[in-house]
Symmetry: C2
Subunit: 332 residues, 2 copies
């Protein structure tokens, strides 16, 4: 398979890393072009000398392209889709934006049906690098979620699966509405919790004294409050239904905690043990097995502790033999 030109719309770490992975894989490509209307971003990526062209001329960037990767803020996406429609050579559009349902609606309305549109989201396990430190290893071994529109042709989907496997990642498919609910719970909700935490603590009169007691824990939990408010607002508005659902679940969980705190039994301990075990279960990879079937530890699970390294391994090790408890269960 040989791809024609690839264009990345928007200069952001994931889109650039994806393009770099393709460039450095065994896939044959023509030019890889990155576009942004921001001159500073264009200049700093240009100086990396990683792509064939980096520029702020949208028409020039799209001309001759067959695959377009969108990695842009939500508000820019309708006009980008309009522009894409003017280039008949474009076969496939991949969109990395988090508000997939909204973008899918726009794609269905705006794009010609001959263009295969696929929402795409890599499930990152590490912090996003800044754009001057992008790496073709960022997406290696990651799960990458794909959401094709109903009109997307089989060929486009096959090509994208081919590309993802060639860069060493694992494709899986979700419905956009499922994606938006999961993305909200696993990602967007943490931005809301972070902002809610800052607004809860800094608006009290005690803040004028309390700020001095704020250290790394405050800093960490408030990290996502530093994301751009305008982007946060746009994403929350397009994810408002799942967001309301998950915020209500979060409030219910906090209320349950309050009740256990007042109880005189083991409920409070069990609350923390449950969270401890669920986190350990996720971390150890035990969830990818069928939990209803009789438990036969896989090689990867048996090696889990060693592979996952020090911190988890220490937490998960106990005095019981492995036959007595599963490795994610809290030793008590």
């Amino acid at each position: 398979m040989k791809l024609q030109d690839i264009t990345i719309l928007g200069i952001q770490p994931i889109g650039l890393s994806l393009a770099l992975s393709i460039k450095n894989s065994s896939i044959k490509t023509n030019n890889i072009v990155a576009y942004s209307e921001n001159s500073d971003l264009v200049n700093s990526v240009k100086s990396l000398n990683l792509f064939d062209d980096v520029n702020k001329d949208l028409q020039k960037s799209l001309d001759g392209s067959s695959l377009v990767i969108i990695d842009s803020p939500l508000i820019e996406i309708p006009s980008l889709l309009e522009s894409i429609s003017n280039y008949p050579d474009i076969k496939t559009v991949l969109n990395l934006n988090g508000s997939q349902s909204k973008c899918m609606t726009w794609a269905n309305d705006i794009l010609d049906k001959s263009i295969g549109y696929i929402g795409i989201r890599p499930i990152l396990k590490t912090e996003q690098p800044d754009i001057t430190n992008i790496s073709d290893l960022l997406l290696e071994d990651l799960d990458i979620c794909l959401m094709p529109s109903t009109s997307t042709d089989k060929k486009s989907i096959e090509n994208v699966i081919y590309i993802i496997e060639k860069i060493g990642a694992n494709p899986y498919f979700l419905e956009v509405s499922e994606h938006d609910s999961y993305f909200t719970a696993m990602n967007k909700l943490s931005d809301v919790i972070s902002a809610a935490y800052v607004n809860a603590t800094t608006t009290k009169s005690s803040w004028i004294e309390m700020y001095k007691s704020a250290g790394i824990e405050f800093d960490q939990l408030s990290t996502n409050a530093t994301k751009d408010p305008v982007t946060n607002e746009a994403e929350c508005l397009t994810l408002s239904d799942p967001l309301i659902y998950w915020i209500e679940e979060m409030i219910a969980s906090l209320n349950k905690f309050k009740d256990t705190l007042k109880s005189e039994n083991d409920d409070l301990l069990n609350y923390f043990v449950h969270a401890w075990e669920q986190k350990a279960k996720w971390e150890s990879g035990a969830l990818s097995q069928n939990l209803d079937s009789p438990h036969m530890p896989s090689a990867s699970e048996a090696m889990g502790n060693m592979i996952l390294g020090g911190k988890l391994s220490k937490r998960l090790s106990g005095n019981d033999g492995p036959s007595k408890r599963k490795n994610w269960q809290y030793p008590k």
Copy 2:
């Protein structure tokens, strides 16, 4: 000033780092001894060769000591205070545990009034190192909160201030009840939010599909759910009053967010802008100025962006001149 022997009860990073800072400062000391009943911890700290003795014999560890630093889990503290009472040479006890009110009550009940008891908490700005990577630089330049009991003599307090200044940190004083409220909001609440988040998301039937969409954001927000549930339970019980207050504030803040999400005006944007600005204000150090007085930027504030480095500096920079907006205000 010359200190006699110093004993650290409990082998944990902060207590050991504090002792190491004292050892490597210009303060003259006799032996510095670290105690734990855990043989593994004793052996791994012994092999660092940083202290005069590391052992699991409590009596031997306390014998001849004049300053004791407690850095132990809450449940062990009453019995440690009992033991300390048997050593008339001990002049001062510093306690690093987070549940200061509870510990203060125990200290008042158990310790002889001739022993100066002071709760102490350094406000860490970085992750705690593990015990094999402790550093005499960990506490440098940090604020260290001090909470003496009412019966603590002036001499003990002066000595502790002297020590803290000699290791390059800044002492400040709080009432224990204030400390517990602030500590709960700035520290303990993040453990509860983390566990509540894991319990909210992993108990739904969707989790069996959703876990695959969990990446770094889930990992980060659930980090504190990995803390030992037994310790978490004990700390929450001793901090239950401030905890209930702050959980209710957090719920109110989430409810307010839900309302702004449904509003048709700028409330949602303003919610994020408020959080963004409060975080920036804290990060830039603007809170330590008197905000009611006419604003004259201090040298440190003017240098703030440069000192704080890339990320914040980029966020706080805009096209407006510094005279038009304060450096923590969101540029809109």
